[in-house]
């Protein structure tokens, strides 16, 4: 944006549309959210599974993310049990990934000569996915707005080549751009004609109240435990049957049920490590099965590529 030009502040949805247009113009396939409950955009198979193997893969998508323990019954201006991440995966990581990313910030209205953008060391690790990478949290005037990671391993396997992952915290970014202190005050959409604007609170405040209550107080723990076991068994069956994509769905399911059990406070410290290891085994098993199902094609199309 140019100096001095009055530019309309983007609504939440326009910010998403702007990012879609930006990454679409850079060759990304714009995917839709995965239709399962996940804790972060990284769980989408378009990230987890597709970051494995030699094939180029450039996608962007919004992923609704659920973190049951972060629920605050709609009473905290910054914390939500359900929020949105904007996820970009570029494989192999392009040499100008940082510049492309900074371009996206400019596109949504952040001027880097007015605001202090910084790359601060933050190495990423997901114990439940058996994944890690090196990178930064990107600060804008002291606030973390994006997680920027070069994936090194996924499901316990080396990423060859390495994918670059950008995870934008959409609500934080929008609060920043719109200069509001309470997430529920965010302008979700603009008023058009006699259709009035919609706020984030209009859309989600009641969800936060009800889901916080369900997550913390109502959810039946026996059902959750049984669900976890069922997902675990089904994941293993699907791996056996050679359908890793279906297996991975069950790994996601188990992971989310584990998060809910934690929110219900029924998993002790000792058990916690054990459950995380079980989820990791499912995720790793699914990744392994995915690699097994693809590696013939990969080695055919990419001579010299090895696991």
């Amino acid at each position: 944006m140019t100096e001095g030009a009055e530019k309309k502040v983007l609504s939440f949805q326009d910010m998403i549309l702007t990012l879609h247009a930006y990454w679409s113009a850079r060759g990304c396939a714009i995917l839709q959210p995965y239709d399962m409950r996940v804790g972060a955009g990284t769980f989408h198979p378009a990230t987890t599974l597709r970051s494995l193997g030699p094939e180029p893969w450039n996608v962007a998508y919004v992923q609704p993310s659920r973190r049951p323990t972060d629920g605050r019954y709609g009473e905290n201006p910054n914390r939500l049990q359900h929020y949105y991440q904007y996820q970009v995966i570029l494989k192999p990581s392009p040499a100008d990934l940082q510049e492309q990313y900074l371009g996206s910030l400019a596109a949504i209205g952040i001027d880097p000569l007015l605001h202090d953008i910084r790359f601060v060391e933050d190495d990423w690790e997901s114990p439940t996915l058996g994944a890690w990478g090196l990178g930064w949290e990107v600060w804008c005037d002291g606030m973390e707005v994006t997680q920027f990671t070069y994936f090194q391993q996924m499901g316990g396997f080396d990423c060859k080549p390495v994918a670059g992952e950008l995870t934008y915290g959409l609500e934080r970014l929008a609060m920043y751009i719109q200069n509001v202190d309470n997430v529920y005050d965010l302008k979700f959409s603009d008023a058009v004609g006699d259709v009035s604007a919609v706020s984030y609170g209009d859309v989600f405040l009641e969800n936060e109240r009800q889901f916080s209550k369900w997550n913390f107080e109502v959810a039946d723990t026996d059902t959750l435990f049984a669900g976890f076991k069922a997902a675990e068994d089904e994941c293993k069956r699907a791996i056996e049957a050679g359908v890793p994509l279906a297996a991975y769905d069950q790994a996601i399911e188990a992971s989310h049920l584990f998060n809910l059990l934690q929110a219900r406070g029924v998993i002790s410290v000792q058990e916690r490590a054990n459950y995380m290891a079980r989820v990791r085994d499912l995720a790793k098993g699914s990744c392994k099965a995915w690699i097994d199902s693809q590696s013939e094609r990969w080695t055919q199309n990419y001579p010299g590529w090895t696991l």
Binding site: S93, Q98, L113, L114, D116, E121, K160
Partner: protein, 789 residues
């Protein structure tokens, strides 16, 4: 002579790694050049988040030519020898020199152009660079062999004089071009040579010299504060970190809502520093003020107003979290927080934190009741507290948690026990959950807020101290009792389950605990036999209280120890039961021999090791500590050190050095005669008591086979032995050394004047006995066999 410039440009290098990277670059560069035969003089090494730079000044244009001369066979030697030599040197016969009938090969190695050396050195440096963590990236990372770097390497500038040093690593070729500031000057800039590098970057908003950036931040932050009538709280760690995060640092002052100042200042400072990397400021009154200084990386178009506003908002969110915790935590009394400690596992074999608290409370009280920790500024010096530990000493019916309004009137024992019971309560508070580094400190705040006596609040606050070398060592009596008890319990507990530090592995920070114990004992001159509180701690551990806190529940103790891998015979269990029933423990009880004593021995050895490490810095010789320690039975650290220091002073004298030489000689002779040096032998008995033994002084003097030196040493020992042992008993160690010094002349004269291995068996036996008695006398003061030199 020509200058060389190297710049390795990279995506943002973590701030904490930059100092190490500079050292690594220097080390590798010097190694590369030195292996090529090039001397490197002064190197300038700089770092920013986006580049490492090196300037080597005054390098020669080429390495020196070397002429190597190899001696070959004689010209008269058989032809095979000559052929072999020619093969080895790669020369023809007519190229050899014949000097007086011997062939010589002279091989001239011409100098190499320095630029060539550099072209090979740069890739070798990059490939050999050791980062704490490194990564792969980009297309190349499809192969496992691709280059690894801390973050993607994006460019190399390598210029020798004004000439490009051509090289390529992982698809990145060297060139003249670099980039300026990410936002102010994103385009390429061309560097001409080492001479214009820093200034060209400066023109492009990059200050490449990290020290200059540090100075800008240090001074700029102080000035920003001063301009607003405030005083910056200096923090060199933050200066360095912010310099590692910026290429064009601009310190900016912001203010936060004054209402947040009700939160303890340490909390504000911590959240500002750790989470946001901000400095905090004090007002004119020296108290924390509602300001902060952040360090931006740009000259913002609006002078930084937006940046300050943004940072203020982030800080406000953090501080309102902190204030929420501060308010929530104070709604519950520490006593009630402490009840939740039974949910926190201290160690799976050692039960919960609540169990530990119980043990520490008893031990803290015991330390006071035994007179080891006293109210007086300098503690009671009469004796080394050594009464039996009574596990039931800390009954719940004693005055405890609910102090009366006149809580200040609590006895020291009550203060210590109460503080110990509450010391860990803050671990379950929200604030410490968020900021674990505030443990202790928050407990102190919460204790004061609920009106507990200052002595108790201080003890809670400071009981983790000393945390490291240089940290304050507690001196307030109640704090000393709790801090010492906590650390003794930690050592005892982990040693009891055989979790001792090995090598660099010390997951439970036992070395730090040991050092803490030593420092507290020294700083307060606590006179105690360390074995006793260790026995007390172990006894409490063995007899961990069950539901009824005042009952010594031995079954629970046995189960715990069995779970911890200690095997009990049925007989042992019976004996343990006896101990449990007696509700008492003394050195005569079997449990002491079987469980407690072995743990104590290994803990004392461990403490001695730590003592050596700690005293090394004070210039105390570790071998002298060994020499005193090897005598055994010494577990009073204050006394031990006094003895070591007297010994060290003695060893610095001529008498000391000569006595040591005499001792070593005596020890050698005794060893050759097959005798143990460290204990008085049969031979020593022959001459030990001047009246009762076979040899008396009179007999020696009257025996014509023996000389004057034989009698003189005998006589000297007769007076030195009792003088030394009396001095030791009365802790007059300098006098003990003086008594030893009196032996120096007689022992020297003895070795000069007599032959120990006399053909006459009786004479030889006498002299061996005398030497044995001599080494024995020396051992009464220190084991000289441990002394080096």
């Amino acid at each position: 002579m020509t200058d060389f410039l190297l710049e390795l440009r990279s995506e943002e290098i973590p701030a904490r790694m930059q100092a190490g990277a500079r050292a690594e670059l220097e080390k590798l560069f010097r190694a590369q050049l030195s292996s090529a035969g090039l001397e490197t003089g002064e190197l300038t090494i700089w770092s920013t988040p986006r580049r490492l730079a090196l300037i080597a000044r005054d390098l020669p244009e080429a390495t020196a030519a070397v002429s190597e001369e190899l001696k070959g066979p004689r010209s008269s030697a058989p032809p095979q020898a000559l052929e072999g030599f020619l093969r080895k040197t790669g020369l023809r016969q007519d190229q050899l020199e014949d000097r007086d009938g011997v062939y010589f090969a002279v091989i001239d190695k011409p100098g190499r152009a320095t630029i060539e050396v550099l072209a090979e050195a740069v890739p070798a440096i990059v490939r050999g660079f050791a980062w704490p963590k490194s990564m792969r990236w980009g297309k190349e990372s499809a192969s496992s062999e691709s280059l690894r770097w801390v973050r993607p390497l994006s460019g190399i500038v390598a210029i020798f004089g004004e000439e490009l040093v051509p090289c390529e690593i992982g698809g990145i070729a060297s060139g003249f071009a670099t980039r300026g500031h990410r936002f102010h000057c994103p385009g390429e800039i061309t560097i001409g040579s080492a001479a214009d590098y820093a200034e060209k970057l400066r023109a492009c908003h990059v200050i490449v010299d990290h020290e200059e950036r540090q100075a800008i931040i240090r001074d700029g932050a102080a000035k920003a504060a001063a301009d607003a009538g405030l005083v910056l709280v200096a923090d060199e760690g933050l200066v360095i970190e912010n310099a590692g995060l910026t290429e064009w640092p601009v310190p900016l002052l912001g203010r936060f809502d004054e209402a947040f100042l009700e939160v303890p200042p340490e909390v504000i400072q911590l959240t500002a520093r750790v989470n946001q990397k901000y400095f905090v400021v004090n007002g004119a009154d020296g108290k924390l003020a509602n300001g902060f200084v952040c360090t931006a990386n740009i000259d913002a178009k609006d002078g930084g107003a937006e940046i300050v506003a943004g940072n203020r908002k982030v800080l406000a969110a953090r501080l309102s979290d902190a204030r929420f915790f501060w308010e929530q935590d104070r709604k519950t009394k520490l006593e009630d927080h402490a009840k939740k400690l039974n949910r926190i596992t201290f160690h799976e074999k050692l039960g919960t934190v609540a169990d530990k608290v119980e043990r520490v409370a008893k031990l803290a009280r015991w330390l006071v009741e035994e007179g080891i920790v006293t109210d007086s500024p300098l503690p009671f010096r009469g004796g080394a507290g050594g009464g039996a530990f009574r596990p039931d000493a800390a009954r719940t019916d004693r005055p405890h948690p609910n102090p009366s309004p006149e809580g200040e009137g609590l006895s020291l024992a009550d203060q210590a026990e109460l503080a110990a019971r509450l010391a860990k309560a803050d671990l379950v508070t929200e604030m410490v959950g968020e900021f674990p580094e505030l443990q202790g400190l928050m407990g102190g705040y919460y204790a004061r807020a609920e009106g507990l006596p200052d002595a108790v609040a201080d003890a809670i606050r400071d009981h983790y101290k000393p945390v490291g070398q240089g940290d304050d060592v507690p001196t307030a009596p109640a704090t000393v009792a709790v801090a010492l008890a906590d650390k003794l319990d930690t050592l005892a507990a982990f040693f009891a389950i055989n979790e001792k530090p090995t090598g660099s592995r010390d997951p439970f920070a036992l070395r730090r605990a040991a050092l803490g114990i030593i420092s507290i004992i020294q700083a307060n001159e606590l006179r105690l036999s360390v074995s006793m509180p260790l026995a007390a701690a172990l006894a409490t551990l063995v007899g961990k209280s069950s539901a009824s806190a005042d009952r010594f529940s031995f079954e629970v103790g046995v189960q715990q120890l069995e779970a911890a891998g200690v095997q009990f015979s049925e007989e042992t269990v019976d004996r343990l039961r006896d101990v449990a029933l007696q509700n008492a423990l003394d050195r005569a009880s079997p449990i002491y021999d079987q469980i407690i004593q072995p743990s104590i021995v290994s803990i004392i050895l461990f403490l001695a090791d730590r003592l050596k490490v700690q005293q090394r810095e004070a210039g105390v010789r570790h071998d002298l500590i060994d020499a005193v320690f090897a005598l055994g039975g010494e577990d009073d650290l204050v006394r031990l050190l006094a003895r070591v220091k007297a010994l060290q002073a003695f060893m610095a004298t001529e008498d000391g050095a000569n006595l040591l030489a005499g001792y070593k000689r005596a020890a050698n002779i005794l060893k050759q005669a097959g005798q143990d040096v460290s204990s008085n032998s049969r031979h020593a008995e022959l001459v030990s008591a001047s009246t009762a033994g076979p040899w008396t002084l009179k007999q020696v003097q009257g025996d014509e086979r023996l000389g004057a030196a034989d009698a003189a040493l005998f006589e000297a020992l007769d007076s030195a032995e009792p003088a030394a042992s009396a001095a030791v008993a009365e802790e007059r160690f300098t006098d003990a050394m003086a008594a030893l010094a009196s032996l120096r002349a007689p022992i020297d004269a003895f070795f000069d004047g007599v032959m120990v291995n006399d053909p006459d068996e009786a004479v030889r036996a006498y002299r061996l006995g005398l030497l044995s008695r001599f080494t024995g006398a020396v051992h009464g003061v220190a084991d000289f066999s441990k002394i080096e030199g």
